[in-house]
């Protein structure tokens, strides 16, 4: 077998360069298709990832636990007592990276000059720091130090609207757990920068202060949780559901179906582009090989007349295909990787950023080189290309030598 390979391989390689321009053009086509699959794939994955990251960062985490009914009517009427022993045990499972209870309520915030509708989040500072963006997003002032701290964190855009500064007082007005109107005056201790929609509407209080303000005692509105890895979200959610059957446990994809749709669209776009690219490669390759076969029919007849077995001839055409596709695919992978790595510091969408944000992505995307995905793409292109070359190879091997040898002169 190896002897046959070493006999046929040099012939196959030299045959490839008999029509050098055609071979180079085909190789460039294959390389461009592979590179484009990788670049678009990486771009779309980073788009999906940014949509996911934004969703997780926007207080959704990997999932949330609520009292039943809260998702349909998110008011204090559907608050929860502190987690049961079983739920606590599940929340402290090693597959969960972090979790935090929150109080969530709609409220009005007033300054001396303006007022605005807001969503109040009562947060546990230490637990929340491991879960969401807030602790790292404080641009002026400070973050909370303990659950019993006091003060409020406002977003930069809300501060502009209310025309307040660090150290000013604002008044929060909301309906408390009993249905009465509650008010609290709080000092602005920090101003954060984050996603625009959060900056405008989300205000943060230490959880104890929020519970007191809203008359919730030790109850909370939700528990947000973060799995160690994205792939573990389903199993973690199932585990929490089992631990708290009377509560409503939902993963991020159930909480944010729009984000899930975006990720599915990006994945499907990848698959479709991959299919289109491969179809182009396959047709180009079959065309090239068929041309190469038809113009050499006499030669194939000659090889068989000299005693070359049809199976060896088949191997020769397949080898020509391998020699064409493998270097082209690897070159395409190198080009694709180089382009992707050149954007590793981020691809700023510029004026498209606003539109991108509307459909869940960030202003800046971070395309990442994925060795596993690249390996799979290369293997698929090479494997399917070799499969595509079987047809011309079989056609060549099946020709009866006498048909072609006696047909024409050199």
């Amino acid at each position: 077998m190896m002897k046959t390979f070493f006999l046929i391989a040099p012939i196959a390689w030299r045959n490839l360069w008999r029509r050098g321009t055609r071979t180079v053009l085909t190789m460039v086509t294959v390389a461009l298709a592979v590179a484009s699959m990788m670049i678009l794939g990486s771009f779309m994955r980073s788009w999906g990832q940014s949509a996911f990251d934004r969703t997780v960062a926007a207080m959704n985490a990997h999932g949330q636990i609520h009292a039943r009914g809260f998702m349909d009517d998110p008011t204090l009427e559907y608050s929860m007592p502190p987690p049961s022993t079983a739920l606590l045990q599940a929340l402290n499972n090693p597959s969960i990276k972090a979790w935090a209870p929150r109080v969530v309520a709609s409220a009005m915030v007033r300054s001396e000059r303006e007022s605005a509708p807001v969503r109040v989040y009562g947060i546990n500072p230490q637990r929340e720091a491991r879960l969401s963006f807030v602790s790292k997003a404080v641009a002026q002032g400070r973050y909370f130090t303990e659950p019993a701290d006091s003060g409020v964190l406002l977003g930069r855009l809300l501060v502009d609207r209310l025309q307040v500064k660090l150290g000013h007082r604002v008044v929060l007005t909301a309906q408390d757990a009993k249905g009465d109107i509650a008010e609290i005056g709080v000092k602005v201790i920090g101003i954060y920068q984050g996603q625009p929609e959060l900056e405008k509407f989300a205000v943060y209080l230490p959880i104890t202060q929020a519970q007191t303000f809203l008359g919730l005692d030790r109850r909370s509105s939700e528990i947000a949780y973060l799995a160690n890895r994205r792939e573990q979200v389903s199993s973690v959610t199932a585990m929490l559901r089992a631990a708290a059957p009377d509560l409503d446990v939902r993963s991020w994809s159930e909480l944010q179906p729009f984000t899930r749709a975006i990720i599915e669209i990006t994945d499907n776009t990848n698959a479709i582009w991959g299919f289109v690219s491969f179809a182009l490669v396959a047709f180009g390759l079959v065309n090239t090989l068929l041309m190469a076969v038809y113009e050499r029919l006499r030669e194939f007849g000659l090889l068989q007349a000299l005693g070359m077995k049809p199976a060896w001839l088949l191997m020769q055409i397949m080898l020509e295909s391998c020699f064409l596709v493998i270097p082209a695919t690897l070159s395409g992978a190198v080009v694709g990787a180089a382009v992707i790595l050149s954007f590793s510091d981020g691809l700023n969408l510029g004026s498209w950023g606003a539109g991108a944000r509307m459909i869940g992505a960030s202003q800046v995307l971070y395309p990442q080189f994925d060795l596993r995905q690249t390996g799979i793409a290369c293997a698929v292109v090479i494997g399917l290309s070799i499969l595509a070359s079987i047809y011309p190879a079989v056609r060549a091997a099946r020709r009866v030598p006498v048909d072609v040898i006696t047909r024409a002169q050199v």
Partner: protein, 227 residues
């Protein structure tokens, strides 16, 4: 002399659309080992078809061909390829060298197919190229050789692995008179020295001077001498 080729009532019919063409009609022929035989006749008389059937390149519609006593009818395509590889050398009118291989590699190719080691292949190829007068041209590709030189490479390739039979189809058709004579002398010498059986299909009257037996064909039949 032992019979090396036996054709028994060989017929060959081609279907060309609605028209049936009889290329060979009940041809019976015996060729002994180490004979130098020519097949001649006008174009379309069936000599190339007969040569192809003897070489296992084509199959008869009726009848049988025995090469060294073995019937070709019972062989698969792969087995026929193996017989051509080990027992039969071919020389074509149009040289039919492999264009991407040098003269030396073209000659070596058959032995490579046979699985011979490099050293042995190289020695035999160099010796045979020397014997056909192609010293110094080993590394030239076919496009860099003249017609006569290419045909010498083709002959060298046909005989390098010591086949029992060499089938040559119009080997002098594309050669000038000097090259034709040199080629025929070479084939005659190989016939005498190595006892290789040569069967040559030809139009060329010069060839008849070199062959031991002359078979005349017409309309798919042997007309002289009668077998």
């Amino acid at each position: 002399m032992t019979a090396i080729i036996q054709c028994k009532d060989v017929s060959k019919t081609y279907n060309n659309g609605a028209i049936e063409v009889s290329a060979l009609r009940d041809v019976s022929l015996t060729i002994s080992s180490a004979e130098f035989v020519s097949l001649s006749g006008p174009s379309g008389c069936g000599k190339t078809t007969l040569l192809n059937i003897i070489g296992g390149l084509d199959r008869p519609s009726a009848g049988d061909v025995l090469v060294e006593g073995a019937s070709l009818n019972t062989k698969s395509n792969s087995q026929l390829a193996d017989i051509r590889l080990r027992r039969i050398g071919y020389v074509f009118q149009a040289y039919n060298l492999i264009p991407v291989l040098s003269a030396l590699e073209n000659v070596e190719f058959i032995m490579q197919l046979q699985g011979l080691e490099l050293k042995q292949r190289r020695e035999r190829s160099m010796a045979i190229l020397h014997s056909v007068g192609l010293d110094g041209m080993e590394n030239r590709r076919p496009a860099e050789l003249s017609g006569g030189q290419q045909q010498r490479v083709a002959v060298a390739r046909a005989i390098v692995s010591d086949p029992a039979i060499v089938l040559a189809d119009e080997p002098t058709a594309n050669l000038d008179s000097r090259n034709s004579n040199e080629l025929l002398e070479l084939m005659q010498r190989l016939n005498n020295e190595k006892n290789i059986t040569f069967v040559v299909a030809t139009h060329d009257p010069k060839v008849l001077q070199f062959t031991g037996r002359h078979i005349q064909m017409l309309d798919g039949q042997i007309v002289a001498p009668q077998n």
